[in-house]
Amino acid sequence: MRIIYVYVLVFLPALVVQAQTNIGEDSIRTVVLQEVRVSAQQKNQQQQLYQFFRSNQAATTEDVLSRLPELSLIRRGSYGMEPVIRSYNSGQVNLLLDGMRIHGACTDKMDPASIYIEPVNLSSIEVRTNGSSFLNGSSVGGSINMKLAEVACHDEPVFSGSLQTGYHTAAKAFYRSLNLNYASGKWGFKATGTYRKSQNYRDGSGKTVPFSQYEKANYSLHAKRMVGQDMYVKIDLLADDGWNIGYAALPMDVGYAKARIGAISLVKEKGRNGWGKMEAKLYANKVQHSMDDTHRPDVPMHMDMPGESVTSGMYVQTEKYIGQRQQLTFRADASVTSLHASMTMYQPGQSPMYMLTWPDNRQFQSGMAIQYILRIDSSSQLQVHGRADRSSFGLTSQMGKDQLAVFGYAGQHSSFFIPSFSVQYSRKLDQHFKASASIGVNGRTPTASELFGFYLFNQFDGYDYIGNTRLQQERGQQAELTLSWQPAKLNLQVTGYLSRIEQYIVGKYVPTLSTMTIGAKGVKMYENIPHALLAGVEGSVVYKPSSNTILMATVKYAYGKDNTGAALPLMAPLRNIGSIKQYLGKLWLQAEMETATAQNRVSLVAEERTTGAFSLYHFRLGYQTRGMGLQWQLNAGVENIFDSFYREHLDWGNIARPGRNLYLQVGIGF
């Protein structure tokens, strides 16, 4: 029986960058989780490689994301971390699933799209920080695209898959995942199921953090049918259900968080006459989220807080090669997002108090983007990116309009036109040394919360936030410089960036407004300030002294200030992750060290707390073997070996991160 092996690559950012030898896009960092060798393309060949998971398999999507220098994670609970690029906020970055826009359903931003996705759903995660992100949408900070895994079609029937189970001691968390692939002739199917259950975790001081438990299940179905030479139709269906999710940093937990995602795509891998990959996709998703305070003691007033988001959209993307040196990519997309969230408060003996925290609203978005790459000669390349985006926001219910009339809303529609443009020049200065510089202008619309939010409590600073229907869009100017040096066995890369954002959106304290949330310190209304500046440096180095040893280190630093020179809030301090990995036959060992300096430069206006420095040490190992016709893989390790008590600066509340955690993961591939 012929078995097609699934080739899975570990994520090592620099390793992926090295793999780009053709007209590459240096501004993209890709975290490859699984790479599928498409054997069907070469009919009588089969790949005999079968290696998977050469490092610790990421426990959740967020764990994977946290290893990239460009990304930071804002944590609000034990899971449900919001990935942000550099120190931009979530409204300034596009977080997409396979090019699809998806909007959380929680007004307090407890559910960024990444919590509805498991690593087993994905093939790779692409982070784009400058002009190349325009293909995915308008933004000021860039885009994070989580690409869904695909199944390969084969002439012979092939059945493969993997089963994994794992346990983490810090939270007594169980994890189970099943991945089945079946391909035969023109069809391919992939089905996955994942279940996680985690109890309250123990932090570094030995205390159990209450309300940090969660339980969730994720199912996905992917079907692919070849419909011609190099052309196929694929359908992706994904359902994710979370329940009984604690949120230590907030005064209430999550009753349920559900997502239902569906997409149908038509893909042509290669065309004729220079046409490259073409893709058309139609999608829809629905996210539902509800808060639950029934498990908390001393609740002053019981509240129901359900929210819902429905997004549907489409996009078309094509590539065209012009001669040997030029490549053009064109994309058109459109989407509609509807949001609704309300709050009902109950006081015995009275009628319920009901209000819309997200007055029913709808956003229509449509845009077109172009990417042009010119290989000037063998050592230099020029990229030009452009995008035009049009978005319009409106309220859709009379009650929503009546509520906002209290703040002077008079029926106006908010319409935004966002042009973006960027130029990048890369040059190989000598055999090992390459430099790349880009400048550009970009922009982003305000988010629905920033426009229409109605007394949204922000635990970070303890204020109620109110939307401003007269907000202007943000406009950015950005410059980025990357230097990379790749002599033998070494890959060193440093990136510096500068981003100036005009009409930067922040909340401003309004003393005349009284709070709605019991315990809030005051009310802030969103407004545009003249400008803000963000700058930073990221570096990564990968050194392979021998074929069995890899040393890797990443470092990142960000600096932000507003137009008065005051520090912006939620800026991560200097952060460094270093690791040594040694292969010994079927076994590998890895030692890791993570350090963060103290963050004392905080926003006084937001009453942000400083955070102390910390160092963490991890040790991991993995072992692979074959037996009984199956591929076995064992991953185990200790994270936070010295049980340090620490908190990340971007975490909300005074909630510490887990202490010493032993984990064990067993996977079987067939």
């Binding site: 007033m301 408060m345 009628s351 319920p352 108090m353 009901y354 509520q403 009339a405 209290v406 109605f454």
Partner: protein, 267 residues
């Protein structure tokens, strides 16, 4: 006879035709209000019908009078009308604030208002006297009326710290509160004597809505200002459904008259 027959027929037909049309030419006025009472004002030869938007209650009642000539049944659209509500408490009698209608009807109705300051019951009984003057004749009709307390009070009173006089404050709007911006209207009257309660236009009113269970207010309210006949109009904003207190503060010039009153709104 034949000659006379056609003339006679013509006369009969025209008489019947005219008499029929006389009745058909007077359109039925459909009045969409509740009829409280009716009667004839002796002396003026007028039939009076009294309507209100709902059953009478303690507070400001919007009333409508329809007058008809008692012999021809034609609606009367011009008359001098003044109202005198009296509560007979046995040992004494007193009146209550009144807003007399203008002398010209609008759509055949004379709009007026009466602020009944207490309910009918063991304390006493109310009657409403309608005094009419038209075409040089005076008429009067007294109707018994029953006043009940509403579920949610729409009348407050206080003794002003500025001049020690008693004031009555009636809530007119919002009648159907909703989330968002609502019209807010009150009417203020001063108790000058037991029989005279003139409208007041001298007070400065401040409005502070509040949800007592939540402890928060709402933004961008507009304090009621006097617009005529003792009516003060402003805007009250509700950010959510539930129980709200409309806290009112009254000042006479720079002196605080009262700050202890509020109206409850629950929706």
């Amino acid at each position: 006879m034949k000659k006379y027959f056609s003339v006679l027929l013509f006369i009969c037909l025209s008489v019947s035709f005219f008499s029929c049309t006389k009745d058909n030419l007077v359109p039925e006025t459909v009045i969409p209000f509740q009829k409280i009472g009716e009667g004839y004002a002796a002396g003026a030869a007028v039939k009076v019908e009294l309507y209100a938007t709902k059953a009478l209650f303690t507070g400001y009642n919007s009333l409508y009078l329809a007058l008809y000539d008692s012999s021809s049944n034609q609606p009367i659209e011009n008359a001098q009308i003044s109202l005198m509500p009296i509560m007979d408490m046995g040992t004494m009698k007193h009146a209550c604030p009144v807003q007399n209608p203008s002398s010209t009807a609008t759509e055949k109705l004379f709009a007026c208002g009466v602020v009944f300051i207490m309910p009918s019951g063991s304390m006493g009984s109310w009657s409403l006297t309608v005094n009419l003057g038209l075409n040089g004749k005076q008429g009067k009709l007294t109707l018994p009326v029953t006043i009940t307390d509403p579920v949610q009070s729409r009348l407050r009173s206080f003794v002003s710290k500025a001049d020690n006089a008693k004031y009555f404050v009636a809530l007119l709007q919002p009648q159907n509160p909703k989330v968002g911006v609502n019209d807010m209207e009150i009417a203020i009257y001063k108790a000058q004597t037991m029989m005279s309660y003139p409208a007041d236009s001298s007070l400065t009113v401040s409005l502070t809505p509040e949800m007592p269970t939540m402890g928060h207010g709402s933004p961008n309210n507009i304090d009621p200002v006097h617009t005529g006949n003792g009516h003060y109009k402003g805007k009250v904003n509700f950010t959510m459904t539930g129980l709200w207190y409309l806290n009112l503060g009254f000042k006479a010039g720079n002196v605080i008259a009262d700050t202890a009153n509020h109206f409850e709104v629950n929706f």
